[in-house]
């Protein structure tokens, strides 16, 4: 991965490509690469859909190698949803393929003068950018059928659905999985709209003839990678819980804790939680010939994903993730696993962020557009988004806009982005991360790797009020660094619990890049990435006033524990004070 592909979609005479050396971006991957490029090259005050914005697609540092679990990819831009910097992360095959093709990033720049839609083909022999208006309006599934007919199903694709073409702020960028289905999405923050504004419908990546990226120290790499994979397999979460039930194993637990946002964040408990839990889905999938244990890309050891078949045993969609089950389940009062799976399929097809859409429909239900629990209405509203009706356009603009249009006060957003599946009144620490993350309300911004492992930020006094601030800071630093490597964040639990597995991970990276990596090095990388992001947002006009939860979280008590968010504003302002 020693080159960057830039495509100027607005060049006179049609799109122009340029392949260049990494230069100042050497050593950057994933979120490190996307945030460095956006921070350095995009004017912070530009319109997110203008020619000045850029869409950066960057595989993780280890992607394309044999490193287990290293196939995550980052998509960066100035977000049309938040107006700030965005890194949205996804699984799927593209990261590995792009890595093997040798690209550390694809950067889409400019904007076509006409409204032609383009297909980009990247293979070992070069890059082609072809106008293909016959792809207009296609859903991601139909699009993949077309691509398969032309290129076979051994390629990997990055694409947008109709929502991206309509430049909706909730539009995602889709990535194909191992079965060449468009089920993996960089959803948060509307990167699909930016891809749509560049006139790019699909990028086809073909690594035929390419080899795995070789490590600098093959022997050490092989050994460390083997130990790392064994460490993941032997841990209860990464070796058993996630493979058996997927991320939706959380539904029952979060519900029991009274932290499962229900009916647009009016309660932390949902009476139908058990019916839509990961445990129930796993049984349903097995009984219909699906599969609850499946990877989103080759090289995934944990395999938290799965295959969901309909009542007739035919493939419908991937196993819905916890976020989807929450967003379209408890948050909308819906307890039917088949309905949630149908919406999951629709969103993958239309190219929509599942969290943003679920939160938006919750707000729409509160506004009276439908009743909580009305499955048919929920499906109809998502379809309206795909059809681009006036109401669909409003909903496709996300929860905040929808709340404004319909006069709803209870809108669960930070920096314009909808909150994910944990109520911050019950889990205050995650509220700190929602409030302060440069990305807007984001659950993956602070993951389970901490001071104790990385030795960052000093030791936390668990009884002090500052503890939550310090933990959130350390988590955000660690997460930014992991997002740069291409590693899936689900490795976190195993490396948190098993110091040997953490060391094995450092050894894998060290042997790959030929340079010893320490915990301090990881920390520095994380801080550097966050600094890029904070700096961009500051120049885009963000102040500490945007690092806040909506007021009602401090005022409305959340049943069943009747708790409110209590972290003081001045404490939130200390998160990035390192």
């Amino acid at each position: 991965m020693d080159k960057i592909l830039r495509i100027d979609m607005g060049a006179a005479g049609g799109p122009q490509m340029k392949v260049e050396a990494l230069g100042g971006y050497a050593g950057m991957g994933g979120r490190g690469m996307t945030s460095a490029v956006i921070s350095k090259e995009v004017p912070p005050l530009c319109h997110p859909l203008s020619a000045e914005n850029k869409l950066v697609i960057a595989p993780g540092l280890l992607s394309g190698s044999a490193a287990a679990q290293s196939g995550r990819i980052s998509v960066g831009c100035k977000s049309p949803l938040t107006g700030g910097i965005k890194e949205s992360n996804s699984g799927g095959q593209a990261s590995q393929v792009l890595g093997r093709l040798g690209y550390a990033a694809i950067i889409l720049e400019g904007k076509p003068a006409k409204d032609d839609l383009y297909k980009i083909i990247i293979n070992q022999s070069g890059v082609q950018v072809l106008a293909d208006n016959s792809l207009k309006g296609l859903g991601n599934y139909a699009l993949m059928d077309r691509i398969k007919a032309d290129h076979g199903d051994k390629v990997a694709c990055i694409s947008i659905g109709p929502a991206g073409e309509m430049k909706m702020p909730a539009a995602s960028v889709a990535f194909t999985d191992m079965e060449f289905r468009p089920t993996r999405h960089a959803g948060r923050g509307g990167p699909g709209a930016v891809m749509g504004s560049k006139g790019v419908k699909v990028i086809v990546l073909d690594d035929a003839g390419c080899k795995l990226r070789p490590p600098k120290d093959p022997e050490k790499f092989k050994e460390a990678n083997k130990r790392f994979a064994q460490g993941l397999k032997k841990h209860a979460v990464t070796g058993q819980g996630l493979p058996s039930f997927g991320t939706n194993v959380l539904t029952n637990i979060i519900n029991e804790a009274g932290a499962l946002p229900t009916n647009n964040f009016t309660s932390g408990r949902f009476s139908g939680a058990a019916k839509i839990s990961g445990e129930t889905y796993a049984e349903l999938e097995k009984s219909r010939g699906g599969n609850p244990t499946h990877g989103c890309h080759r090289g995934c050891v944990i395999q938290c994903s799965g295959i969901f078949n309909d009542k007739n045993g035919n493939y419908l969609t991937k196993q819905p993730e916890y976020e989807t089950v929450w967003a379209h389940g408890s948050n909308c009062g819906i307890d039917d696993p088949d309905v949630i799976a149908q919406i999951d399929r629709l969103e993958d097809d239309l190219g929509l962020d599942t969290i943003e859409m679920g939160a938006t429909i919750g707000v729409a239900m509160e506004a009276g557009l439908a009743k909580f629990g009305d499955s048919e209405a929920a499906i109809r509203l998502v379809k309206e988004v795909g059809q681009g009706t006036p109401l669909g356009r409003i909903l496709g603009s996300g929860a905040e806009i929808t709340g404004k249009v319909f006069g709803v006060v209870r809108v669960p957003t930070v920096k314009g982005q909808a909150m994910p599946a944990y109520d911050p009144r019950a889990v205050q620490g995650i509220g700190v991360t929602y409030a302060t993350s440069p990305m807007g309300a984001d659950h993956t911004a602070g993951y389970a790797v901490t001071a104790n492992v990385l030795g960052v930020g000093g030791s936390v006094n668990p009884l002090s009020a500052e503890g939550q601030i310090e933990l959130s800071r350390n988590l955000q630093i660690a997460t930014a660094a992991i997002d740069a490597t291409g590693y899936c964040l689900f490795i976190a639990f195993a490396i948190l619990d098993q110091p040997d597995t953490f060391q094995d991970m450092l050894d894998v990276i060290g042997a790959f890049i030929g340079q010893e990596l320490t915990a301090a090095g990881v920390t520095e990388l994380g801080k550097k990435i966050l600094s890029f992001e904070r700096d961009f947002n500051a120049r885009a006009g963000f102040t500490s006033k945007q690092d806040r939860l909506p007021g009602y979280f401090k005022e409305e008590a959340l049943p069943p524990h009747n708790v409110v968010f209590k972290v003081a504003d001045q404490d939130l302002d200390q998160v990035f004070n390192w």
Binding site: V237, V249, L250, N252, A274, V427, A448, Q468
Partner: protein
């Protein structure tokens, strides 16, 4: 007296009754005791299993860190889970690094105890724990609403149903007869007995 239902099935089919454990079943509690005592004595779980496997425990919806301090009383709801993924999963782990993140919903001494005239505790088993500890609990016997059991029985897949034998008050019955005879009952005592694989 509640009707007594026993269901015999090959051990591999226990998972079809796991949903009952996710939503909760009731068990008697002779006297107030600590969570640890309840797990050891009432649920017959081994200490090493409790320590290593049951990483996430809720008492009345509040995360428990200290198993000896938290008291189970009649009327309580006790939920058991393995370690969970993600930051929030980590938060709810017993005495985990992130337990501070959920201090708002942590079980603390001095919270008013729940009470229940029938002297029962609602037990919920989630994820891996349902598979590992569930069969013994279902064999021992649990109380649940008759309607909940009937819903489960009525939605069993036709591939599974022929392998199940039902008894109502020690009398063999079909699934249909069971439904008819329980339709007006409020509660049942259920035992699920594994018969080989």
């Amino acid at each position: 007296m509640q009707p007594q239902v026993s269901i015999r099935l090959p051990g591999r089919l226990f998972p079809v009754f796991h949903p009952l454990l996710y939503s909760g079943v009731e068990m008697p509690i002779p006297a107030n005791c600590s969570v640890k005592e309840f797990l050891c004595r009432q649920l017959n779980l081994e200490l090493v299993y409790i320590e290593n496997r049951i990483q996430t425990i809720f008492l009345n919806g509040r995360a428990v860190d200290d198993l000896e301090q938290a008291m189970v009383t009649a009327g309580s709801t006790l939920a058991l889970s393995a370690a969970m993924p993600g930051l929030v999963g980590a938060c709810f782990r017993r005495s985990g690094t992130y337990s501070l993140f959920r201090s708002n919903v942590t079980f603390q001494e001095g919270l008013p105890p729940k009470t229940d005239d029938q002297g029962r505790v609602t037990v919920k088993l989630f994820n891996l724990i349902a598979g590992e500890a569930g069969p013994a609990i279902l064999e021992k016997g649990v109380y649940l609403p008759a309607q909940t059991l009937l819903e489960r029985v009525q939605t069993l897949s036709p591939r599974v149903a022929p392998d199940l034998e039902f008894h109502l008050n020690d009398e063999p019955v079909t699934a249909l007869e069971l439904s008819a005879r329980l339709s007006k009952k409020t509660e049942v005592l259920l035992r699920v007995l594994g018969t080989g694989t």
